[in-house]
Symmetry: C3
Subunit: 344 residues, 3 copies
């Protein structure tokens, strides 16, 4: 593809000579036929030694003597440029005769079902959807258009996906929620008869688990992005455009607003509610409701500014204890002296 | 089903007119033909606006003017009522010709094996067991009666399941324990030749991993319920009726008694032992043996009452440090004054 | 196998009578025909009551009256002895007609592909490699010799494995990194066009997830051992012989040296760098670069010695706060008295 063509497709202007472009790469690795991103000024030292033929950058950072794609928002435009060169995963099209498709399943146009994928009774696959090998789509599932389920993804019965949902390999949607009643001879399972309902433009990470609701639905809002190995328990509700990073855990019936960020290994207690835009730091544990815009850290979580100060003090805690002991001793000695002097 | 029939099946009495019941739902969503649970008085506000035709509740909480199923133990009876209406997952019966069943495998009566499930040599499947698509049952595994393995569950060789074991999708039982010896040129794998032995009425969550023992067996006691994404290392032994919540991790050779509760993201160090009924709070890390009945929190874990008090003080730590500094200053000033006055 | 033959194969001497040996077991469970390990003196009490026919131990610990395999390094030699008796997983050889192998894939000699495994276009399987059921090897993957992928392992496109790589069931390599750009109407996916490159003698645990790089490669060095349920984000680089224990998480572009140990549930922030031999304690969170040899604990992590002292003080924090309050009161009272006395 010519650079001029790239620029046209992403609606950017370019400087320098037009040239043939073969792909994208990092500043460090790109060659004369590749485009590399300059996403912030901290990469300027790498730019100097880069062999990249084209640099995507803000106009103010554009180096001389090199072709540049000028962008008012380099990170966003970088996403678009990379998309021009990205090859989709996979090597097949159409419904494989080695797949199992239930006779009562309904498949939209241009659906791909790889060998060893399973589509259950009454499942509906939206137009352009793709099921990789080992995918299980249970009975009564409904997939919107252009959903992609990578290998070994499992959708238990009645899971609903919006449009353009991407599920990374090994993720499980619709597993039973963890619900038991205490019986006379052990825990009795409360059958989980709800389902999972996922919005559009949602992405779900590898080996993540999202439980079906006890009665109603576990819901993820449009545009929410869930990373790998995340646990989302039954009846959780997330807003739109949330970011839930790797190994985070949301306990049962927790509800989070729009644009919430849960950093890696963070956790929410069951039955709590977070407002819009709440940010939870890595490894934190939130045990109570939080208003919109709150930023918290720590386990249990506290205001992030307090948390950062507390974290700086924490290593000095043993020394602090020693200082308190010294103060107590000093005061006791003074009191002894005072007594002595008052007895004098 | 008529309400009278429901009541008969779960051995409860009902008040109000008999009516046709189509299913179960939450108080908020249930319609006139559905049963909803009133599991605690905190739901009384929802009851007022609920359209539920029938409410399952304690006799003392029974609302007037509505059919009620009266229960001395609403949560437990709710589990039983839901079970009357729950549809089992899946849409097939019998052994699929698209499955692989080794000629030396032994299948009990009424076994279901879906397409793309694999049953290895000498594996035994108990009567009424079901293997969903993508399940792998390695050679020499033994499954008791009525075991259900949801899609893509893996049982490595010689794994043993009791009766009525339910394994959620993607869980792995019998992966190699993490055991290496330091050699002259790196870590040398210690082959893990033990297995995994699971009791009866055990449930295991989605994408959970349970390692085989180095030599003997990793064991889970009857009635233990393991949530999603839990790590159970080699040689772990759990008692009966333990609850191990999502993303918890039990390190090698740790042993826990009966009725132990490990909350979400909590962890046990290797080679430690917890008595019966121990409760470990979320995100806690236990590094030493604990007696029966202990309740702990924190990382490293401490007595739960201490932990809760400590957690309340923690955000005040920077202020505490400032107060100690002020005390030191005040005392130093007083000592200066005293010196001055003694010099006067 | 005769004991003399065992000794010969692992190049150790033995004491006592030669005998027929059927396998290996723990000291507690071994019978007269089995070898048990005495890995440290703490097991001496178990030795006394053990029925083990043969004990592998250091010469100085060798019990009288029992056959012994004498070893200068019992743990390492135990690994070798166990390997003599370990049966490999699985029950088939060769390429199953029920597998899917793309016509453009290249298979080395003595490759085994089980039913329901999938090998994509142009994938190369090294000599002696084995793919268990449900394995997905995407297009353009390259596997070195003697790689073993247990059931339901997924290698997305262009993943590269060295030699003797063992991947436990359910692990995913090459899932998309978690990369988005903020757009006007939500997060826009940055296509992840890099790959995953794994060294030789690497082992990867069950249900672990390793993301492909955004542009370049996520790399694991030779001999590194990754436990179950670990998250390795895009662009992570690990050195050789690292140990990454269960449920640990390495965020994007973090780089760790050789021989680094990340204990269970620990985490690295994105874009940080750890030197060789760094050790990170369980549940710790590292948020800054660390030099070679550093040992840290806590979240956020601090020097391990400081962490251990801090942990001992932490439960006393509420009491410390009370003591500070008492000091303040005592000082205030004394100041009042001083004022009084100065007014007298």
């Amino acid at each position: 593809m010519r650079l001029s063509e790239v620029a046209g497709k992403v609606c950017l202007t370019f400087t320098g000579h037009d040239l043939e472009v073969s792909g994208v790469n990092t500043l460090a690795l790109a060659g004369p036929g590749e485009i590399a991103p300059l996403l912030s000024r901290s990469y300027l030292p790498q730019l100097a030694s880069s062999a990249a033929g084209v640099v995507l950058c803000e106009e103010a950072s554009a180096p001389e003597g090199r072709a540049c794609l000028l962008s008012p928002n380099p990170k966003l435009d970088w996403a678009r440029v990379v998309a021009l060169f990205a090859r989709p995963q996979g090597c097949m099209q159409g419904v494989s005769p080695q797949a199992f498709v239930h006779p009562e399943a309904m498949l939209g146009a241009n659906v791909t079902v790889y060998p060893f994928a399973f589509v259950g009774a009454r499942a509906q696959l939206g137009e352009g959807s793709t099921l990789f090998p080992g995918v299980y789509v249970g009975e009564d599932c409904v997939l919107g258009r252009n959903c992609t389920l990578y290998p070994n993804v499992v959708l238990m019965a009645a899971t609903v996906l919006g449009e353009d949902v991407l599920v990374q390999a090994g993720a499980v949607l619709g597993s039973d929620g963890y619900g038991y009643a205490q019986g006379p001879s052990g825990h009795v399972k409360i059958p989980q008869v709800g389902n999972v309902v996922i919005g559009s433009q949602v992405e779900i990470g590898a080996n993540t688990a999202i439980d079906r609701a006890a009665l109603d639905a576990t819901r993820l809002g449009d545009g929410t992005k869930v990373d790998n190995l995340v646990q989302i328990a039954h009846n959780v509700q997330t807003g739109r455009h949330c970011l839930i990073i790797a190994q985070a855990g949301l306990a049962g019936s927790s509800t989070i607003g729009n644009g919430v960020v849960m950093a890696g290994q963070s956790a929410l207690r069951d039955n709590i509610s977070l407002g819009d835009g709440v940010q939870v730091a890595a490894q934190s544990g939130v045990g109570q409701d939080l208003p919109s815009g709150a930023m918290v850290g720590g386990s249990p979580a506290m205001d992030i500014a307090t948390y950062l100060k507390m974290s700086l003090t924490l290593p000095k805690l043993p020394e602090l204890a020693r200082r308190v002991r010294r103060l107590e001793k000093a005061l006791a000695e003074r009191q002894d002296k005072t007594k002595e002097s008052s007895h004098e």
